[in-house]
Structure formats: C-alpha cells, structure tokens
C-alpha cells in the first residue's frame, strides 16, 4: 500500500500534466476529427516526457537539488534566464487555461456562468498551494484523478471497432477529407500538450519536496515509467472514445461538454457525472501544479527559499509568486477571452518552447559533477538526443502551422 501511494507524485503529475484542459480538448478534437491517426503523437510525447522526466527526477534525487536550480548554476544566469522567463509566461497562460477549464466544467455541472466560478476556483487553487501539505495534495488529487479511468472503461463498453482503431493507430494516414497542415497542427498540439514545461519543473521539485535521494531512484523511475504512460493511456482513451460516438455523427469538439458525451452514451448520467468529476480534478490539479511550478521556477532561478514543506513565512517570496500567478491567471480569464482559446495558445506556444525546457535537462543529466556515476547512459543519451531533435523540429514548425491553419480551423 505504501509503495502504491509512493506512485502518487507520478500519477498526479500525469493527471494534472497529461490530462489537463489542453489534453482534454486536443484529444477530443483529434479523436472526433481524425480517429486514432494521431495516436502516435501522444505515444511520442509520452515517451519523451518519461525519458526527460526520469532525467529530471534523477538530478533531484542524486544532486539533492531540483533540476532548474542546477540549470542556473550550470548554464549561467543569462542563459537560464531565457528558460526561466519562458517557463513563467507559459505557466501563467497554463494556469489561466486550467482555472478557466475548471470553471467551464463547473458551469456544465451547475449551469452557473463560468466567469462567476473563476474567482472561487482561483481562491481554491491558491489555498491548496498555500495550505495543503505537498504529500496530501499529491495523494488526494492523484487518487481522485483515477476517476478518469471511466474513459478507458467506456471504451470497452461502447461498440468500439477495435480492428479499425488499431489499424488507424499503426497506419497513421491523413484522412482524405482533411487538410494536411491542420492534421500536422494537431499532431504538434498533442505533443505540446504531453510535454508542457511545468510538468518537468513540478516533478523534479516535487521530488525535492519528498526528499528523494539515491535510495529513492527506483521509486522515482516507477513514477516516471508508470505514471507518465498512465497519463498517456488516459489521453489515448479520451481520443478513442470520440471515435465510435462523435466521429460518425460528424461532431467536432469545440467545448469540454462534447468530450464527455461518449461516457454518457456508455454509462448514462452516472458515467457523465464521473467524467465531469474527473475533468474537474484533472484541471484543478493542473491549476495547482502549474501555479506551484511558477513559484518553483522563479524561486529556484533567484535562489530564494521555496517549497511547501516550509511554513509560508519561511518562503514568503515563493508564496508571493504563486499568489501573483493565480491573480494574473484569473485576471486573464476574467477578460472573457475564451478559455479554450487560451488553452490552444498555451499548448502551441508550449510546443514552440519545448527545447528551451528540455535541452538544459539533457545537459545537466550528463554532468558528472552533479550526478557522478548516475549520469545518462548511452541508451538514454541516444534516446534523449533523438527526441530533442524532434522537439526542435516541432518548435520550428509550430508558429508557421498555427498561422497557416488559423489555429487548426
């Protein structure tokens, strides 16, 4: 039982990272529009996240410091400034998207306009960040997030054509009626949604919050190699349930509510309630996670004391950054910009900034001064380098595709 609970950091990172509002939207859109032909993008993003998450976790466990603390020291103040500032901008956008997403789910469940929920959701996210102990937060949100398994079960309950799903998955061709640039746009959106920068910051800083050391490397690896693929599985399930229900009807997913309808087809009102609850947990967990990640990134860059283990007065600047992030994000949503638009912009900009986040991780994970005998091996380096090249290509084509396809229209 204790070992299972030890996996909750990976599960929470996966629930709040992979299956946040960005993935709920992009998986729903792509499943309804392209079937499983873009499943490879989720698989690729998941592998990349697991490989780089393991490196970041290893740095945290061996060097006893979160990865971006080491990055600043290793790459210097100026070079790491680019990394830290891009992370902060993206995180604030992500927090806005998640708060907006949580508020949209509450609107769906209650009929009360989402803008009225925004201040309450923001306050609740900040309270969790400020007051709730780290381990309790990860366990409660991680375990509640397991409710998202309803999408996996629904897939077995629905009249799913498994042969067709599998065929689309292993033969990823652009459907004849769809434009190639838009298909590629959603491919990079899915990769971006899997590799959102805050995940790696949260995971490595969470490792320090839990005082990981070399003896915890096994637990850390279980978290990365079970937790992240679990998130990838949920992401694929969200995509797959749209195929037998929404795709035959020509439904294109524009709203969170549409993404939950397949579960209602499978299990009725109870299933729908569980699906909405799982969306609520996933988006709220992501709001808390990305808020904390902003605080971690800024505090680690400037060398301030940080962490939920410390009383707020002992990490006042860290807590202030978290509060300012929540306020700025809630303010962004309250301008009435559609949260789904914020989500797509944050996911796509995140994709463009992926190398800024992950290249320093690869550098630090190869530095013997920090990791000694635990530096990357040949396999990890080969895999990491290939994945980094893919990330650079993704980053280069992201903005042109965004403009060319008018954000996937």
């Amino acid at each position: 039982m204790k070992k299972a609970l030890g996996l909750t950091l990976g599960v929470m990172t996966a629930i709040g990272g992979f299956v946040d509002i960005g993935n709920i939207v992009t998986s729903g859109i792509t499943g309804a529009r392209y079937g499983m032909t873009l499943a490879w993008a989720v698989v690729l993003g998941t592998i990349a996240m697991a490989v780089f998450g393991e490196m970041a976790g290893r740095v945290a466990a061996v060097a006893h410091r979160p990865v971006y603390h080491v990055v600043r020291e290793r790459l210097g103040v100026r070079a790491s400034m680019l990394n830290a500032s891009s992370s902060v901008v993206l995180n604030v956008l992500t927090v806005a998207a998640e708060i907006g997403g949580t508020a949209l789910v509450l609107q769906l469940a209650t009929g009360v306009p989402y803008l009225l929920w925004v201040p309450l959701v923001a306050a609740a996210a900040w309270l969790v960040v400020w007051r709730m102990p780290f381990q309790r937060m990860e366990r409660v949100l991680g375990l509640l997030g397991l409710s998202m398994l309803v999408f996996v079960v629904a897939l077995f309950w629905l009249p799913t054509d498994w042969a067709a799903l599998w065929d689309q998955t292993i033969h990823p061709a652009i459907p004849a009626e769809q434009a190639a640039p838009t298909w590629w746009f959603y491919a990079i959106s899915l990769i971006g949604a899997c590799l959102v920068p805050y995940q790696v910051i949260f995971f490595s800083s969470g490792g320090r919050e839990e005082h990981w050391s070399i003896k915890d490397l096994r637990e850390m690896r279980l978290n990365t190699f079970l937790g992240f693929p679990f998130g990838g599985l949920l992401s694929l399930a969200l995509m797959a349930v749209a195929v037998p229900v929404l795709r035959p009807l020509g439904i294109q997913v524009n709203h969170v509510g549409q993404a939950a309808l397949p579960v209602a087809v499978a299990f009725g009102g109870i299933g729908l309630a569980i699906a909405l609850f799982s969306f609520l947990v996933a988006t709220f967990a992501a709001a808390a996670e990305s808020t904390l990640s902003t605080g971690y990134a800024v505090a680690q860059y400037f060398g301030w004391s940080w962490g939920k283990a410390r009383p707020p007065v002992g990490a006042a600047r860290f807590q202030f950054v978290c509060l300012a992030t929540v306020v700025a994000a809630a303010g962004t949503v309250l301008t009435t910009i559609d949260p789904i638009t914020i989500t797509i912009v944050s996911v796509v900009l995140g994709a463009a900034a992926i190398p800024l986040t992950y290249f320093p991780v690869l550098v630090v994970a190869n530095d013997r001064r920090y990791l000694g005998e635990h530096v990357n091996g040949v396999v990890t380096n080969t895999l990491g380098t290939v994945l980094l090249v893919v990330m650079v290509v993704v980053a280069l084509v992201t903005v042109p595709l965004l403009l060319l396809t008018r954000a996937g229209q």
Partner: protein, 142 residues
C-alpha cells in the same frame, strides 16, 4: 512579440476575406461541416436526456453552446460577400438550410428550458432534417 502576433492572427483569422468563387465555395463547405457538427451535438445531448442517460444542466449547457456556435457560424456565412452570381445563387440556396438549422437549435433550447417535451421532439425532427440537408450540401460542395 510572438504571443501578440498570435493573438492578432487568431482574432483576425475568424473570417478571412473571400477572394474568389473557389474560396467562397470552400467557406460554404466549412459552414456546412461546422453547422452540422453543432446540430449533431445538440441532437446527441438531447436524445441522451430524453432516454434518461444525461444530466439536465449538462444537456442545457451543451445545447446552449451548440446554439451559440450555430449563430456564430451563420453570422460568418452571411457576412461573406459572394464574389460572383454563381456564389450569390449558392448563398441563396444554402442560406435557407443555415437558417433552418439555427432556428431549430433556438427552438430546441427554448423547449428544453420550458420542459416542453412535445416542443423538444418537434425541434429534434427539424434538426434531423436540417442535418440531412447540411450533409447533402457537404457532398455537393466537396
């Protein structure tokens, strides 16, 4: 810089200018696809509700969102200037289908709000006809 440029691109990318008959036809095709999606969403949510497989607030929200989407799609369609007589004729024919679909979405939302079962079923029938017409147009325009 980049986020600013993106915001402008996204905001101005809602309904680009129609340059020629080909792109007008393409825009008409997208109108039928998007509107058929909104109609199918409302139909699915309502049928789930009628069979006791949904939650009332969710149905109401999903149908309202579909109605908003439908209105927005119809507005974009009517705001485009047909570039020639053939396009003008296309507009005239398609406009009836678009109006029928958006009217049916509004009727459905109202009937659901009033708890009018007969009105809901009538609106569903109208939506089904509108969707069949939209799908027919998709095949003609593709």
């Amino acid at each position: 810089m980049v986020p600013g440029a993106l915001a402008v691109a996204l905001l101005t990318g809602c309904a680009g200018p129609t340059l020629d008959a080909g792109s007008y036809r393409q825009a008409a095709l997208h109108t039928t696809i998007d509107l058929a999606s909104a109609v199918a969403t409302a139909e699915l949510a309502t049928r789930l509700e009628l069979t006791g497989r949904s939650l009332a607030p969710v149905t109401s929200e999903v149908v309202s969102a579909a109605e908003d989407d439908g209105s927005s799609i119809a507005e974009s369609f009517t705001s485009r200037q047909p570039p020639d007589e053939d396009s003008r004729a296309l507009f005239s024919q398609l406009d009836d289908v678009v109006t029928a679909a958006t009217d049916a979405l509004t009727a459905l939302r109202m009937a659901l709000g009033l708890g009018n079962q007969a009105g809901v079923r009538q609106a569903l029938d109208e939506l089904q006809r509108a969707r069949a017409a939209l799908v027919g147009w998709q095949e003609r325009l593709q």
